[in-house]
């Protein structure tokens, strides 16, 4: 069974601080997705990283896929209260196998 371990599980920071959350696995994925889920809503796709070592930026969010395609990180610069939510990573396999989700990192940004 493929597992994605996300850390930290919970993170509470002040507005303006920087943070990094991690998504690690012992398995190789063909690509990896990051979602954000706000209370009372479903997850919303933020980005898909495909190539080992790939870096993608989405405004203040920087996503990196590990060289071996087993891990990924999400870095947020100058966090805002609107960044509050549950950040989920999901591994994508080749073939007809479903997405594997991590348990998520619950981020709280305090104004």
């Amino acid at each position: 069974t493929q597992l994605l371990e996300q850390s930290p599980q919970f993170l509470s920071i002040q507005e303006g601080e920087n943070l990094t959350v991690y998504c690690n696995s012992s398995s190789v994925f063909s690509s990896l997705q990051w979602y954000r889920q706000e209370p009372g809503e479903g997850p919303v796709l933020l980005v898909t990283v495909v190539t080992g070592g790939e870096v993608k930026k989405l405004k203040r969010l920087t996503f990196q896929f590990g060289d071996a395609r087993k891990d990924s990180s999400l870095h947020i610069t100058a966090a805002q209260p609107g960044d509050t939510g549950l950040y989920l990573c999901a591994g994508v396999n080749s073939g007809n196998t479903p997405l594997v989700f991590g348990k998520g990192t619950r981020l709280s940004v305090i104004a």
């Binding site: 994605l4 063909s30 009372g40 809503e41 479903g42 997850p43 919303v44 796709l45 898909t48 989920l88 999901a90 994508v92 396999n93 080749s94 073939g95 007809n96 196998t97 479903p98 997405l99 989700f101 991590g102 348990k103 998520g104």
Partner: protein, 115 residues
Amino acid sequence: DAGVTQSPTHLIKTRGQHVTLRCSPISGHKSVSWYQQVLGQGPQFIFQYYEKEERGRGNFPDRFSARQFPNYSSELNVNALLLGDSALYLCASSLKTSVNTGELFFGEGSRLTVL
């Protein structure tokens, strides 16, 4: 344009009862997937349907079943409810046919509480 819509948004059942959850995909999306998200966990894959055919099934007991209708809407049925079935049930639609689809669009979910 309307996103993925799910109903009901909240419901409470007792052990042994059955429940039917409904999902309407984004217009033009022919694939619907169902996920279970238990508190404190990430979503777990239950089913995927495309063109009314089951294309994938997760590690869930036979008490869980689903179907897709000609208009691509879908129902998830759970029989003989257990306390452990309490969760947020998420429906996601997509354009692609395979379960490891490129992008999933999730609804807000149906929160089921089993007492």
